[in-house]
Amino acid sequence: MLKPAKRFNCDLMQFLSNVLTDIRSNRFLNIITIMTIALSILLVSVFMLFFENTGRVLSAWKQGGRAMVYLNDSFTPAMLPNVKEQLISTGSIEKMVFIPKTQALERLKREIGSKTQFLSTLQENPLPDAIEITMTTHSSFDRLQKAANQIEALDIVDTIEYGQGWLGRFFKLFNLFKMTGYAMSGLFLMIALFITANTVRLTFYARQTEVEIMRLVGATDRFIKTPFYVEGLLQGFLGGVLGIAILLTGYLTLSSGISQNLGAYVYLDIHFLSWPAVAIILSSSTFLGWFGCFISLKQILRPCPVK
C-alpha cells in the first residue's frame, strides 16, 4: 500500500530535479526573463507608488475644502446643539466649529489690519454668527453640492459659502487626475504584459530545438508544458520579488532624502505600497511569468507536428 505514495514522491522529486536541470541549463535565458519581469514590475509599482502618494497629498488639500454656514438673525447660542444636529443629518460633514459673531469681528479686525482703528468705534456688531464645517474627504463634488443645498434650505441658515467655483474645479481636476492615473496604470500593466510575453517568446524561440526534439521522442504536450509553466511561475515570482526589492531600496533612499530636505517646509505623508498592493504585485508578476509561457507554448505547440 505504500507504493503509490512512494511513486508519487519519486515522481515529484524527479519532476523538481527536471525543472532545476532546465533552469540550470538555460541560465542566461532565465536571468534575462527574470530581469525583464522585475523591471516591468518595478515600472508598474513605481507608478503606483507615485500615483498613490500624489493622490494622498491632493486629497489632503481637498480636505481643506471647508464651508461657512452663515446663520440668520433669529439664531441664539441656545439653539446651537439643535442646529448642529440638523447639519449632521445632511451627512458629508466631518467637523463643525461654531464661530460667534464677536469672534468673527475680531478676526475681521485682524484681517483688515491693526492700522485701521475704525472697527473699534462701531456700536453694533454687523456680522452674523457662523459655523465653519469641514466636508468629508470621500465625498464627490456633486454630493457636496447636494448637501450644501440641503443646508441652505434650513430655516436657521442665511447662506452657505463653499467655494462653489474653486472647489468644483479642484474636484473635477482631481477626478481627472485619478482617472488618468488608473488608465495609465492599466496601460503600463499591459505594456509590461506584452514585453514579458515577448521576452518569454524569445527565450522559447531559442529553446525551440529542445521542444521539437522532446516531441520527436514521444513527449506529450503536457509533459513538455508542465516544466515550462513551473519555470514561468517561478520566474514571474522571482521577478516580482526582485522588482519590489529594487523599489523598496529606492523608496527608502529617496524618502529619507526628501524628509531631510523638505520635512521642515512641507509635511508629506509618503507611504510605501500597502501589503495588499504588494500581494497584488507579486501575484501579477507570477501571472506575468505564467502568461508569457501560455502565449509562447500556444505558438510552439501547434496541433500539427513540426519538423
Binding site: R7, C10, Q14, N18, T21, S25, N26, T209, E210, E212, I213, M214, R215, L216, V217, G218, A219, T220, D221, F223, P303, C304, P305, K307
Partner: protein, 232 residues
C-alpha cells in the same frame, strides 16, 4: 512476389507521395514490411531515404497516399495519440537531433522519462545502452563536446533504449569507424533477433555486413527502383 505471407504486415505504404514545394521527395511508393524484417534503404544522396523514414515516424506528413502501421492508419492519428505512437518507434536521425544543453545521460533518459518509467529503472537501462554503444564514460558530457562518431552513438543509444518494436535508423554508422560501426550493427541485430522490425537507410550498402535475412529497398529520385533480397 506475394507480400502476404504468414504474419500480418506491420508497415504498409499505398501510393505514398511526399512533395516539398514542387519537388517530389517520394514518388508513388507502395511497400509492405513484415514484422521482424531487416530492411536496408539505399540510394544516392537526395533519393528520399530520410524522407521515407520521417514519414513513417510521422515527423512529416505525406502529401498523398496512405500509411498503415500495425493496423493504424497514420492519416487518422490525432495529435493527442501521436506521442504514444512514436514511443513504439526508435529513430536515429541523420543529424542526430540531440538536445545540446542536456547531458548524454539526460538525452537518452528522456525517452524513458517521457514514457513514465521509474528513476531506478531509467538509470540502469540508460547506463546499459551507453555501455553497449561505448559511450558510458561520456554520460555526463554535453552533446556539442562530443566527436561526430560519439554523437552518433548517443543517437543510436537513444533510439534503442525504449526497446521499440520498430527501429528506424537513418545512416546510423555514417560517422563511425569500422570497429564502432560493427558494434552498432551488432546491437541492432540483437534487437532484430528479439523480434524488432528494423529499417536502416544508408547511402552505401556495401559498407554493411551481411545478415541472415535482409531486404534492400533501393530508391532513386524519390521512386522505388528495386527491392532485392540480400544473400551473402
Amino acid at each position: 512476389m506475394s507480400t502476404n505471407r504468414g504474419k500480418a504486415n506491420i508497415i504498409r505504404l499505398f501510393n505514398v507521395t511526399k512533395r516539398y514545394g514542387g519537388k517530389l521527395a517520394l514518388n508513388n511508393i507502395t511497400l509492405d514490411i513484415e514484422p521482424g524484417e531487416f530492411i536496408f534503404i539505399s540510394g544516392p544522396s537526395g533519393a528520399g531515404k530520410s524522407t521515407l523514414l520521417k514519414i513513417l515516424y510521422l515527423a512529416e506528413r505525406v502529401s498523398e497516399g496512405q500509411i498503415v502501421i500495425d493496423g493504424i492508419n497514420l492519416a487518422r492519428i490525432s495529435s493527442q495519440r501521436l506521442p504514444f505512437l512514436r514511443r513504439r518507434f526508435g529513430m536515429v536521425f541523420q543529424d542526430f537531433k540531440l538536445i545540446p544543453n542536456r547531458t548524454v545521460f539526460e538525452n537518452v533518459a528522456l525517452v524513458l522519462k517521457v514514457a513514465g518509467k521509474n528513476p531506478s529503472y531509467i538509470k540502469k537501462k540508460v547506463m546499459h545502452v551507453l555501455r553497449v554503444t561505448g559511450m558510458e564514460k561520456k554520460a555526463n558530457h554535453l552533446p556539442p563536446t562530443l566527436s561526430g562518431g560519439e554523437q552518433q552513438r548517443v543517437a543510436v543509444a537513444r533510439a534503442v533504449v525504449g526497446e521499440p518494436s520498430i527501429i528506424l535508423a537513418d545512416e546510423p554508422t555514417g560517422s563511425l569507424d569500422s570497429e564502432s560501426a560493427r558494434r552498432v550493427l551488432n546491437l541492432l541485430l540483437g534487437y532484430h533477433q528479439n523480434g524488432a522490425t528494423i529499417l536502416i537507410a544508408s547511402h552505401n550498402i556495401a559498407q554493411m555486413d551481411c545478415f541472415s535475412r535482409g531486404r534492400n529497398i533501393s530508391l532513386e529520385d524519390g521512386k522505388l527502383k528495386r527491392i532485392s533480397t540480400i544473400l551473402c
